[in-house]
Subunit: 320 residues, 2 copies
Amino acid sequence: MDNLFKEAFEKIKESNNIVLISHINPDGDALGSSLSMYPVLKRMGKKVTIFNATKPLPEYLDFLPNFNKVTDKLPKNFDLMISFDCGSFDRLGIEKKTAFLINFDHHISNTEYGDINIIDPNAASTSQVVYNFCKSNGIDIDKESATCMYTALITDTGSFQYESVNDKVFEMAADMVRCGVEPAYVSKMLFQRDRLSRLRLLAKAYETIEMCCDGRVAFVEVTREMMEITGAIKEDTDTIVNSVRAIAPVEIAAMLREDEDGIKISLRSKNYADVSKIAVKYGGGGHIRAAGATLKGEFDFSKVKEMLKKDFQNLLKGDK
Amino acid sequence: MDNLFKEAFEKIKESNNIVLISHINPDGDALGSSLSMYPVLKRMGKKVTIFNATKPLPEYLDFLPNFNKVTDKLPKNFDLMISFDCGSFDRLGIEKKTAFLINFDHHISNTEYGDINIIDPNAASTSQVVYNFCKSNGIDIDKESATCMYTALITDTGSFQYESVNDKVFEMAADMVRCGVEPAYVSKMLFQRDRLSRLRLLAKAYETIEMCCDGRVAFVEVTREMMEITGAIKEDTDTIVNSVRAIAPVEIAAMLREDEDGIKISLRSKNYADVSKIAVKYGGGGHIRAAGATLKGEFDFSKVKEMLKKDFQNLLKGDK
């Protein structure tokens, strides 16, 4: 890894006009990692563009230093592009590769579309890869960079709760504090700016929770009517299925949401079930523990549930 | 602090029959800290009793190593008592002090009721004080101790989100992992064993959210009827007022709960309001950001709200 870090740094040094790019529909790690490099490159005297194709950007990340410098317009000329947290080229939101590309990521599925690919699947976040890059090259991390790296780290670990959390993650967090990060401030920005509409939606949705398969499966519904009554936006539905999975005996949680084009199914599993198999069956995809699909057309919640119940029973067959 | 650590360790070495004690209605830090010392003292060949006066103990902590060794019976004879996370003698749940007492705590309000008082208000948890005690005396921390210390740390910091979190906290967490802690396992035990009754109660309670004072104040209600319909227990109401405080503009959140003996008021503030003042006015108490009181007798939710609204308006007067 150290050789790759050195190679990438040399390339950066000899470049002048650099574009930082993160995947479409960016999360905290994508935006945080790309923004964390901005102060580093500015200090080196580079011309820097922070690009993301999505508009508008997620509001909950608006406290990140230099957030307002993110643009959806690519500059005419640039000699280096650095991508962050993006598993495949098509998620960069650009038509074609027109410059040398350094690809920072931590997804094992990364397709290595860059000229230099710095992929560490053992890292808890892409920001941890960027952090290691900085440390390896003796690059100073200022408070702005550290705040972005730290935000990326806690959004990608659920505030230090996921399997990826180990001693290296906590050592990085300690170092982020020494670089000036105020952990409570970041947590407040991320978790204490909730919307009333979201709580109102939870109230409606939680009423619909239905347990089956001896409590190992739970369904929850979000109808268009609920969204209208509560004034909720799609983002407000984000955590519902996770909260339902958190019920003690539940192994698989499924949220059914009435969308414009059909029924969106969000699947989560807790310990062993591979819900990506079910998602793929319905034309969707995802990970073992978090996957989803959209059933296009006219469907009935109760019929979809019956269908999924059978899938889940098969999936859980033979399990404890 | 190092001298106190040494003095306490000497006292432990010369004692044979030791009682570990934590405050009544224990939280993760109280139980976790006291349980973390059990393997240490057993390795030293001591007879150890883990005492807590509360029965039953909170179920969500039942995964802590040696949890089933906690007893509400004091032994007849013992020559040393070590208390954890307990601010005053009366919260130990024992009648009188009958042995030498070492008092480990991190509450600034600790009344120093021990013979040796090891109080560090800068520590994020009492388990951090115990950790420092172990490090200072070269005491090995095994996986069981570390799991208890880590649980104490994350319950008392809201999974690394509170003001108390700094580089030392993260360094301790890193060390806990090196001692064998699996962070994701602890988080799963704490946060992924939710009750359906709790979600059902949230559904009812969130329907009652009422905003006032330009959105800076929010009320939420929990009636006896809601508890009965949903089958919820008192513990299920624990996080409601925190979730309501998390709404973006809210500075003060108040939960009103119908109890057997009156109306329990739980108050939270986000950034600047000192809600303990209001709690004290109604015969309760607490901290600046989290306080509570019980209005005994027959009351009407709407009247209590009117009353509190005036208090909050006074409290917020002149603020931004």
